[in-house]
Symmetry: C2
Subunit: 109 residues, 2 copies
Amino acid sequence: MDKAKRKRLEARGWRVGTASDFLGLSAEEAALVEMKVSLSQALRARREARGLSQVALAKRLRSSQSRVAKMEAADQTVSIDLLLRGLVVLGATPRDIARVLGRDSGVAA
Amino acid sequence: MDKAKRKRLEARGWRVGTASDFLGLSAEEAALVEMKVSLSQALRARREARGLSQVALAKRLRSSQSRVAKMEAADQTVSIDLLLRGLVVLGATPRDIARVLGRDSGVAA
DNA sequence: TGCAGATATGTCAGAGGTGACATATACTGG
DNA sequence: CCAGTATATGTCACCTCTGACATATCTGCA
């Protein structure tokens, strides 16, 4: 990782470091991050499947393009609540969301 | 509903009224409320299954008994994020949570 | 009855998430 | 090349959620 990127990440509250530092993530934090990543991936997939731009989705959510981008990036400043609202606006039912959470996000724990 | 209760509810942001007013709940709002109720029920079930008091759970969550009570009541002031944190602290995995969301909460939509 | 433990409800100051804006980067057709 | 469209990133004022406290209700027990 280059120094500029590392600095940006740290400025946003991420702890950046070696693999053992990452293991410092408690099991609880890891589970929450895993869910957040799964939901953000599902959001992007649903939006693209409908041929909507981030601007179009933002409009339906009464939000902004930049927030949608952060949602899909599972940004630190985005809550799981907001991701769920996004999915629901795209037509996802609670069962659809359950399916998303039941699947593996592909991100190593 | 007596007037005092109605006033308290309205002060907290609930729209109180006739059945047709309730039908004004959009499908999106309904889906989110359904998930919230499912999660709050699962939280209480898990806590009780472990023989923990609300005070004991609050301690693990670094929160307070009153907030835990509101979580289990699916109070308006409680986010889904917080419910998920509670479940995870009680040992629920993302898959456990998926199972909870996949089930019917028993609350009419 | 009175006490102790558990849960419910109301309130509020402070922490953290949100929408909006500015700006940057990337891709595409002309 | 460049204009147009889509997405990414940084920042900030505003508003919601949160923890904590006070208090109320309920149950079981001595």
